[in-house]
Structures are given as C-alpha cells and as structure tokens.
C-alpha cells in the first residue's frame, strides 16, 4: 500500500465510522440480543431467567393469538401487494403517454403515498369506513343502490376489517407508480419500433417488450412492498385503539409484538415473536430470489 492509498483508506474509515457504530450498536448487537432474549423470560423488573425453547413451544402449540396474528398479516400482505402492484403498473402505463396536464395527474396520484402511513391519514380512513355515515358506504350505495344499512360494516365487522385495511393501502399506489414510471421510461423506444415492424399489436408489445423490460423494477418493488406490509402497524393501532379488534380480526404481528413487549412486559416472548416475523420475512425474500428466473436483465444472455 502506498502512502496515498493508506491516506485514502484512513479517511474512508473515518467517514463510515458512524455507520459502523450503527451496525454494531443499533443492528448487529440488538439482533443477537433479541435472539438470546427469545430463550428467556424477562419483565425488566425481576432478574432475567433462561427458559430454553419454552417461548417458541408456547407460541407454536399454545397460543392461538400468534396464529391469528400471523394469518392476519399474511392475509393483508397477499391481498394488498399483488393487487396494489397491478394497479400501480396500470396507472404508470397510462401516465407514460403524452397527455395534457400529466404533471397534475402525477401529483394527485403521488401525494397520498407521501402522506403515507401517518396517524392523520389513518384517522381520515377510520371516518371513511364509518358504516352508517362514512364516505365509502355512501359511494357504494350511490353506485349500486344497496341501502347503506346493508353495506359492509368495515372496521366494526370481523369479516370486513382486514379488507378495509387492504382498501386503504390502495390509496398509496402512487408510490409504486412513480417507480414504475421511471422504469417504463428506461425501456428503449427502439424495442417498440422493432416490435411494431414485426407486426406485434399493443397487447403483444406489452407481453414481449414492456413486461420483460420492467421485470427488474417489479422484482425490486415486490421484495420491498412485501417486507413493508409484513410490518404494518400504526394504521391498525390508530383505527382499532391499539387492540386489533374486532375479535382480533386485525391483530397483526407487529401489533402483537408491541402488546406483548410494552403492555404486558413479556420481553422474552415478544423477542421470540419478533424473531419469527424476521424468519418469515427472510423466507419470503429468499423464495423470491430463488424463483427470480422471470426477471430479465438487459445486456445479459438468457440461457
């Protein structure tokens, strides 16, 4: 190593020092500590007690609320992610045309996703979902003629409450739209021209040019949105007063972890829950990488 190289390396380490601290104290250390805690019983006040696999045994064989929370989280994820993705791709494709006032449309669609997962937005949706005088049921009865009293009870109904969360998530499709829009604009127009010369119609162009060109973006978005929806929390907390009701129908994993840790002070059990959530997310991500053959990268020969 020359002295110039050494100098460069030293200043690099100085620059990334804060990040290394974060890796050690905010990520790596806590992840290991949580792993250790998941084999313990601890309420912060009394001494910590090692219990082996007790927490996991309890969770898997003796805790219906855990299974309920896992089911609710999976239900929300597997409904909101694919439908939201199709919606945002569709909107992005419509936006990707030369139409007057496109900037205005873009702002209108994108803004809700920026306001995002805030408490204020959750309060608004709680009011929209109000069964007797909310906006949604009013619109439903206006369009279909069904009287409002026979419309779904949304947040008050054990069956509809999860679907209400899914519907609310669609208000944020603009976030994905912006990213797909950028992806669409990255597809070379020459490819479309070539397809047109070959006599491909719009539908065929979509399947052979647009979708493969967009697939790396779709892949990236799929991973990120699945990770995020497994972690849904604040909207549910606000809309159900922190309970996850009615009858635990909106009890999601993070809400359950929060309740166990900061309401009942079962730090060990909550850590075990968090680790299971972590494993589920890792498994979902791994599966996506495992079956990622549909993703097409430009400049790479397909075998």
């Amino acid at each position: 190593m020359t002295s110039a190289e050494r100098k460069e390396a030293i200043s690099a380490y100085v620059f990334i020092a804060p990040f290394l601290l974060a890796i050690i104290f905010m990520t790596g250390g806590p992840v290991l500590a949580a792993f250790f805690l998941s084999f313990c019983k601890w309420d912060i006040l009394t001494p910590i007690q090692f219990v082996g696999l007790e927490n996991y045994k309890e969770m898997f064989f003796n805790d219906p609320r855990f299974w309920k929370a896992l089911y609710n989280t999976a239900y929300f994820t597997f409904l909101s992610v694919p439908v939201g993705m199709v919606l945002s791709i569709m909107v992005a494709m419509l936006m990707n045309q030369k139409i007057r006032g496109i900037a205005v449309y873009r702002t209108i669609y994108y803004l809700p996703s920026v306001l995002g997962a805030g408490v204020a937005v959750a309060v608004l949706w709680k009011w929209i979902f109000n069964a007797d005088s909310g906006l949604l049921n009013y619109m439903i009865s206006l369009c279909t003629g069904i009287p409002m009293s026979e419309c779904p009870k949304w947040l008050a109904s054990e069956f509809w409450s999860k679907n209400a969360l899914v519907i609310m998530s669609f208000w944020g499709v603009g976030g994905g739209m912006i990213i797909y829009l950028a992806g669409l604009q990255g597809i070379p127009t020459a490819l479309y021209e070539a397809a047109e010369i070959d006599g491909a119609n719009r539908w065929q162009q979509f399947w052979t040019v647009t979708l493969p060109g967009l697939s790396p973006v779709i892949f990236f978005q799929l991973i990120i949105t699945i990770v995020n929806s497994f972690q849904i929390f604040s909207q549910v907390y606000v809309m159900t007063d922190g309970l996850g009701g009615p009858a635990d129908s909106t009890l999601v994993m993070v809400l359950y972890i929060y309740q166990k840790a900061f309401k009942y002070y079962q730090m060990g059990y909550a850590s075990a829950l968090a680790w299971v959530l972590f494993m589920v997310i890792m498994l979902a991500t791994w599966l996506q990488f495992r079956y990622a053959k549909w993703v097409y990268y430009e400049g790479e020969l397909r075998k």
Binding site: A22, K98, Y109, Y110, P112, W127
Partner: protein
C-alpha cells in the same frame, strides 16, 4: 384497449390516418380513466375538508352535506386547543408541533449529513473491506425494526435516555439508514470520476472533493433524502410511542391518537386537527417534488 393491427396492404395514407386516429382514441381513453382515478384519489381529501367545516349535527347526515353552510371555521382553533385530556396542563397541539418539529428537523440534518458522507466513502474511496461492508449495509435493510426494537429500547433505557428525545434523534446521525446510504451512493456513482481527479490534482482533500465538488451536484438526491426523512419523522408513531412518557414531550402523532381515543365521534374536530397536521407535509411535497421525482427516477432503480 382494442387496437387493430395495421394492414400493410392499405395505402400509406390510410395507414397513417388510421394510426393517428387510433392514437387519438387511446389518448381520450387514457384521459378519461386517469380522471376517474384522480377523482377517487382526491375524494377522501375533499371529504376530510368538508367534514372539518361542519357543525356536530351535520357530520352524520345522509346523504352527506358536501358544502356546509355556514362554514364552521371555529372547528380549527377548537380542535387545536382542546387536544385531549391534557388541556388542564396547558398542553395543546402547539406543544406537540414544537416537539415534532424539533425531532424532525434534527433527524433530517442527521440523516442527510451522515448518509451522504458514508455514501461518498462507499462510492468514491478505496479501502479494504469496502465490498463486504456495503453488502452488510444492504442486508440490514431486510431486518425488520421490530427485531432490534426491544434490545435497543433496553439499551437506551439503561443509559437513561428513556423519556428523552435522544433515542429519536441520535440514531439519525449514525449513517442515516441503509436505504438512504444506498440512494446517495447510486447518485454519486452517476457523477463522472474525472470531477474528483481534477479537484485532487488541484490539491483538494478527500473531504474537500466531497464537500466542494460532489455535494453541490447532489441536490436532487439530497432533497429526496431530506424530504422523506422529514415526512417519516413527522409521521413516526412507534418510536415516540415507546420512548416518550411525559405528556408535554409527546409528538403530533401521539397527540392525535390520544385525541381520537377521547373524541372518537367528533369527526368534525378530528378532521380539522388531521388536516392541520398534514398541511406541512403537503407543502413540503409541492416544493420538493420537482427534485425528488427526478431523484427517484435517477437513483432508485439502478
């Protein structure tokens, strides 16, 4: 969308004319669909605005009164000052706004400064372990915060940071999060390396290259990171919920939640309060959008 395949046997004029007609039809169709979508996206906001000006008796009317008359402007000061059960302690939304601003602004400074300098090192400097460390950085994006939440809480509590703003601000200065580092790094990578070399020949230090040459070129990416970090902190619910205990230290998100649990049926007041909380975000978005739509487009994908 029905599209006919252009018939090559048609005369060239007919072909282009039909193609142009098709394009026009597509545009009209697109505009209609986008407009219907836009109305759907905006309707909740109009509903919010409308409710916030209603008298309590008008709130639950069916069909809804879209434009209440008279407009009850007094809902706004009323919602702002009663703010839950702590009015007797003199705590209103003004207190919460001040607290939230303090946290959001300081975190924003922390995240932008620290993520950009870490990203600069990853993008521009050579040092042993750079590759593995960057992969480690990306890997931390996969770890849900809930896993680290409990040990971090215990750590901060044990060093006496519970019920202070430190757990909400200090982490922002430690790298500013993997996602932001990644975003900034991608942006640095898109700037030609000749810039650095020219500056170094002129005697610039590594920090000088970062500070004087690259950072001024990174305004779109910096704005993106700053806006998103501000919005995130403004909205953050879980962390303040865990760490803040004293009522006078709470943030807008907590204050509003408390307001909901006490005045759950007074939707005219709830909507007024929610709107006031959301307005700064809308303003930031409208000011910054030119930058960060470009920022996402150029960095978020590569």
């Amino acid at each position: 969308m029905s599209e006919t395949i252009p018939n090559p046997n048609e005369s060239p004029n007919g072909f282009w004319a039909s193609k142009r007609r098709n394009e026009k039809m597509t545009k009209i169709f697109t505009t209609i669909v986008l407009s219907i979508g836009a109305v759907t996206m905006i309707l909740p906001v109009i509903w919010m605005l409308s409710t916030s000006f209603k008298a309590p008796t008008e709130v639950f009317a069916v069909p809804p009164i879209w434009i209440p008359s008279p407009l009850h402007f007094e809902n706004y000061p009323k919602a702002w000052t009663i703010s839950g059960m702590y009015a007797s302690e003199g705590i209103t939304f003004t207190t919460y706004t001040f607290n939230t601003l303090l946290i959001a602004v300081l975190s924003c400074i922390g995240v932008t400064s620290s993520s950009s300098i870490v990203a600069f090192a990853f993008a521009r400097l050579r040092f042993p372990g750079r590759g593995p460390l960057f992969i480690l950085c990306l890997a931390t994006m996969m770890i849900p915060t809930q896993v680290t939440m409990i040990p971090t809480f215990i750590l901060f509590k044990s060093i006496g940071w519970y019920d202070t703003y430190l757990p909400l601000i200090v982490p922002a200065f430690l790298g500013g999060g993997a996602y932001n580092i990644f975003l900034m790094r991608q942006f640095f990578m898109s700037i030609p390396y000749e810039m650095d070399e020219a500056a170094k020949i002129d005697g610039c230090t590594n920090f000088g290259v970062f500070w004087r040459i690259l950072l001024p070129l990174c305004k779109p990416a910096l704005t993106t990171v700053a806006v998103f970090s501000f919005v995130w902190n403004w909205n953050d619910f879980l962390n303040p919920l865990i760490y803040l205990d004293t009522n006078s230290k709470k943030t807008l998100a907590l204050g509003l939640t408390n307001f909901v649990s006490l005045y759950g049926q007074d939707y005219h007041l709830l909507m007024a309060a929610s709107l006031l909380i959301v307005i700064p975000l809308v303003a930031m978005f409208l000011i910054g959008q030119r930058y960060f739509i470009q920022g996402i487009a150029t960095t978020g994908l590569k």
